[in-house]
């Protein structure tokens, strides 16, 4: 291979470095009206009265929008599949506000200053309601967060709004209780995870204008442009054909842009007034009023026999979706479906629980959703079971984990929001990942720990799996067009959000067409111009959209060969990417061929479109190993090294693949030990700025050792699986296990801060 799996520069790196207009707000109409939202100061309240008379008098104020301006059409802001598995429980504006930061109303004015001035003049009277702030007390709480009759589910997801349940789920294989009762060793432990924030660099940004065909054109920093167009159409009752969504370069999403935020209001203003409008979230709004990761409480019961064979897993999960139910069920199911199959030899397994509403910032999609929470609980619990068994945790995993050509009944039972798809692991190099990782971290020398005086050195590890798109749901497509002068346009619906999919997809096309990257001009995510794609989520782009590009490029190859055979009057034509040669040795170059069919003879446009929908979702696997030094005086943890050994199939772009894993590890470490989410007693988010919410910086991460094992997934483009999420899963459990290996202290609530470690040391000393 010449392009795939070779060092290839990003298609957009240089232009972005040079500061070319690339991002959504770079492209806003200079005269855009500003749409600014008044945010609720209360966790739960009914709006009794809005007095905006004074505000409307301000010169420059165009309008004040309240719930009275919108028809009551409930929708879900989640952009993932249709029909949507998330409850339809959100209105553009409502007479209830359900969390601190929720939308009360919006002012529309000529600039931000006048909008702020107007917001200060508007008087809102609220009737305060008792908020539900403890998700363990949400079910059957006397406050009901979604009493409105319009809220509904599109198909059964266990939606019981009157009990504050957004979704619920239950599955089992075998009889867990019976198996557990027969086990020699059983542990039962409960774990908690926090509402991690995405902290993408570019805040949520949208702008809109009417074009000269009277169509609504929306520029949007989104991960799911096609879902966006549909949700806006349904929510505002604008014909789909009247809307065009363009996704410019996106400055990071991590799942936080897999849903609607300011889009409805901006689209409404432009459609109603005919004037351009825009909204850019402040950092505070990104923290308080977009999405977080779902906080969870997970009770894990494991049972094994004396020889260390895992027999049963019982997993109960309570998930907090906050004020609205985006991705409530899908995230919940992934806790089970992308974690439990790791230990596929159990006799019985049960996974069940509820997703509840609370009056906190809504939770939504976030890289590795469900998987990172489930992995923390299960991989911590496995180490705890090993302590009780007196068994080395790596030997335990080697005995019990998934191996190549094996399967798990869970694949068939659990999908994302619906039933799943049975599949055999054609590629699973987990054993090799574990072995290599042990060497790279020098496990045998360092496990469990070494006392170094003031510091203790230790190691810990965890294994993980992810998926590659959602089978039978995620669809990607690609159009390839041959131009005169012999270069191609590659049009994809797939959504580059900074992860580099434009580069990776262009590489796949270039490889099939035997050409170089400069001959592939990629354009992505414009609902008028590019073919459909479900968007950037669920680790789907390289596998699903990549397969679509692979097919389209092969179809294009076929189409140009047809032309070459005609021109060279031969049935046998060979092509090397530049030159066509027939059996007589006669040749024509691709440039001449393309010029001929464009300008001189039998003219035509060669263009092909292909689609791909996965019939399976081959999981990437990895083993993550952490080496830490813990300071006994302060409880501080230094990350000395993080070793990731990854099986993601072929790395189409090795640099970008490494970047995906490294980024995932750092974000996972953020959740594991830095990102402390704090609420006030009244439910306001305290950690709502980059001053108060600390993500790790370069100096906190000493060394990342990231390697890929040889692996070739037959069903993927050039053997690729996915790599976008797998990196984030292991850090919380690996760290918790390393802390235990150092101190004999088990921390079961994230993040694992110096405070928790030190106070646990003190408590241990007292006992």
């Amino acid at each position: 291979m010449k392009v795939v799996n070779n060092l290839t520069h990003s298609v957009d790196g240089l232009g972005i470095l040079k500061g070319r207009a690339a991002y959504t707000d770079d492209l806003a109409d200079k005269n855009s009206l500003i749409v600014k939202v008044l945010r609720s100061p209360h966790a739960y309240a009914k709006i009794v009265k809005i007095d905006s008379e004074e505000a409307l008098k301000l010169p420059g104020i165009e309008m004040v929008l309240t719930h009275k301006d919108f028809s009551r059409v409930p929708f879900t802001r989640a952009g993932q599949g249709y029909p949507e598995p998330s409850p339809h429980d959100k209105f553009v504006l409502d007479e209830y506000v359900r969390y601190v930061g929720d939308e009360v109303l919006a002012v529309v004015g000529s600039d931000l200053a006048v909008c702020e001035e107007a917001l200060a003049l508007i008087k809102v009277e609220y009737e305060l309601l008792e908020p539900v702030l403890d998700f363990e007390k949400a079910i059957d709480h006397k406050s009901i967060i979604h009493p409105e009759p319009e809220a509904h589910e599109m198909f059964p997801i266990g939606f019981e709004p009157l009990r504050n349940i957004a979704a619920s789920y239950h599955m089992h294989v075998g009889d867990v209780e019976k198996t557990l009762s027969e086990c020699d060793v059983v542990i039962e432990e409960t774990f908690f995870t926090q509402a991690q924030a995405h902290v993408m660099l570019e805040p949520h940004t949208v702008n809109a204008r009417m074009d000269y065909q009277e169509r609504l054109v929306i520029y949007n920093s989104t991960q799911t442009p096609y879902h966006m167009r549909r949700i806006i159409s349904q929510g505002l009752n604008i014909p789909l054909s009247k809307i065009r969504v363009i996704k410019p370069r996106v400055g990071g999403g991590f799942g936080g842009k897999q849903g609607i935020h300011g889009e409805m209001l901006v689209a409404y203003v432009t459609y109603k007034t005919g004037k351009a409008a825009k909204m850019v979230y402040t950092r505070k709004e990104v923290f308080e009023s977009s999405y977080t990761r779902h906080p969870m409480k997970m009770k894990v019961t494991l049972g094994a026999d004396k020889s260390g064979v895992l027999k049963a897993i019982d997993f109960h999960c309570l998930s907090d979706t906050g004020a609205y139910g985006e991705h409530a069920l899908t995230v919940f199911m992934v806790v089970g479906s992308k974690v439990l199959p790791l230990y596929n030899k159990v006799d019985s397994v049960r996974f069940y629980g509820d997703v509840v509403y609370t009056n906190h910032t809504p939770a939504g999609a976030y890289r590795g959703y469900g998987a990172i929470q489930g992995n923390f609980a299960l991989e911590s619990a496995v180490d705890m079971l090993c302590v009780k068994l007196g068994m080395n945790p790596i030997e335990f995993r080697q005995l019990n984990m998934m191996k190549e050509t094996e399967t798990s009944p869970i694949f068939e039972i659990m999908g994302e929001g619906t039933a799943g798809t049975a599949m055999i692991m054609e590629t699973c190099k987990l054993e090799e990942c574990v072995e290599k990782g042990m060497k790279l971290i020098d496990w045998n020398d360092k496990y469990p720990s070494k006392d170094m005086g003031n510091k203790i050195k230790s190691v810990g590890m965890a294994i993980a799996m992810q998926g590659s798109g959602i089978p039978y749901i995620d669809m990607g497509s690609a159009t390839i067009k041959l131009n005169d002068d012999g270069f191609y346009n590659l049009l994809v619906g797939a959504t580059d959000i900074g992860q580099g999919s434009d580069t990776v997809l262009a590489q796949i096309a270039a490889e099939v067409l035997m050409t170089t990257m400069d001959k592939i001009v990629i354009y992505s995510s414009d609902t008028d111009l590019t073919p459909f794609d479900c968007g950037a989520y669920a680790s789907s782009t390289t596998y699903v959209s990549g397969n679509a590009v692979f097919k389209a490029a092969n179809d294009m190859l076929e189409a140009i060969l047809v032309e070459a055979r005609r021109i060279l009057k031969s049935k046998e034509v060979e092509f090397d990417g530049v030159l066509f040669t027939n059996e007589l040795g006669e040749t024509i170059s691709l440039i001449d061929l393309s010029n001929e069919i464009t300008y001189s003879e039998d003219q035509k446009q060669l263009s092909v479109t292909s689609s791909y929908v996965g019939h399976k979702s081959p999981p990437p696997f990895m083993a993550g190993f952490i080496e830490i030094d813990i300071d006994k005086e302060t409880g501080e943890v230094d990350i000395v090294n993080y070793v990731s050994v990854v099986d993601c199939g072929t790395t189409i772009n090795p640099k970008l693949a490494e970047g995906q894993v490294d980024g995932g590890i750092v974000q996972g470490l953020g959740m594991a030990m830095f990102e402390n989410v704090q609420y006030s007693k009244k439910g306001a988010l305290i950690s709502n700025s980059l001053m108060t919410y600390k993500i790790p910086t370069r100096v906190d991460i000493n060394n990342l050792t990231t390697v890929f094992v040889d692996s070739y997934e037959e069903s993927g483009p050039f053997g690729a699986k996915s790599v976008g999420e797998i990196g984030i899963d292991t850090p919380p459990a690996a760290l918790a296990n390393a802390v235990y290996n150092a101190l004999g202290i088990r921390i079961k609530t994230l993040p694992i801060t110096a405070e928790k470690i030190l106070l646990a040391i003190k408590a241990k000393e007292r006992n």
Binding site: E116, N454, E633, I686, K694, P696, A754, E755, L758, L759
Partner: protein, 279 residues
């Protein structure tokens, strides 16, 4: 509209502040954040402002036999890079903010801001730093520990400006600065500790401790330090529990977003113990 002045020299500043109230902006790394406003201009000063970052009279790092004098507008970066700067200050600056902030932030600003978590204050208290203030009426020198009166409150008259910081030239046999923050870069201290000691023929001749972010301002107790002068190293080590108990009374941290009191207090005392035990 507030006035914003970029003065040519110190006398212009003294003239201005003798007539009207101004606030100073040196590196602006506290001021710009405290006056950040998204609604109007990015920076929305509420008071008249004099920019002091380029005043020559507030620059320079010089030494004589006994003292080192640092201009108030010297940046943390240039103090860090200067040969004259004592290691104890360098060790602290290295753990402050990030290279970009250290490029702009100044020593005068760290003092003027008077935050309980101001890191540079910790070695400055330890070194008995003197703050030199100037007005049209003349020069006034105040001990830093007297100058800072409370959280974010300083003994600065409206007609005065900080011009210099003067520290005595002392070499310790051993010193150790430890900053505990939520992460390693660009993070405000949860707490910090600085210990310094010198011996002569195995007897303590100088012993100092200061603690940051565990009280309304830096904790330094010379009267406790004095009790251990002329003790042998062994005696000092043996009295570590007693020493901890004496400091315990003054370590009175709070619960806030960054940490909690129990953690802060435990760690502050652990660091003190560790410093003594490792002598």
């Amino acid at each position: 509209m507030v006035k914003q002045i970029l003065p040519k020299n110190l006398s212009e500043v003294l003239e201005l502040i003798s007539k009207e109230k101004y606030r100073f902006c040196a590196g602006g790394t506290d001021m710009l954040i405290q006056n950040h406003n998204l609604k109007t201009l990015p920076i929305d000063f509420k008071d008249n402002i004099i920019y002091t970052f380029n005043l020559e009279e507030l620059k320079g790092i010089t030494e004589d036999e006994d003292f080192i004098t640092i201009g108030a507008s010297e940046s943390l970066e240039s103090i860090l890079e200067n040969k004259i700067t004592p290691q104890i200050l360098k060790d602290t600056i290295l753990q402050m903010a990030s290279p970009a902030i250290r490029h702009s932030g100044t020593i005068g600003g760290n003092i003027g801001n008077a935050s309980p978590a101001g890191d540079l204050l910790v070695p400055l208290y330890l070194l008995n730093a003197i703050v030199q203030l100037q007005s049209l009426k003349g020069i006034r020198s105040v001990l830093l520990s007297d100058f800072i009166t409370h959280v974010r409150r300083i003994d600065l008259r409206d007609d005065e400006i900080i011009t210099k910081i003067i520290i005595s030239k002392i070499n310790f046999d051993k010193h150790q600065f430890v900053k505990v923050g939520p992460r390693l870069s660009d993070a405000i201290s949860k707490l910090s500790f600085l210990g310094a000691v010198s011996f002569h023929e195995d007897k303590v001749i100088d012993l100092r401790f200061s603690f940051g972010a565990v009280n309304i301002t830096v904790v330094r107790r010379p009267e406790i330090e004095a009790q251990y002068i002329y003790k042998t190293k062994e005696e000092l080590k043996n009295s570590v529990d007693e020493l901890l108990e004496k400091y315990s009374e003054y370590i009175r941290p709070i619960d806030d977003q960054r940490s909690n009191k129990e953690y802060r207090k435990t760690v502050a005392l652990n660091l003190l113990r560790n410093f003594i035990e490792e002598l």
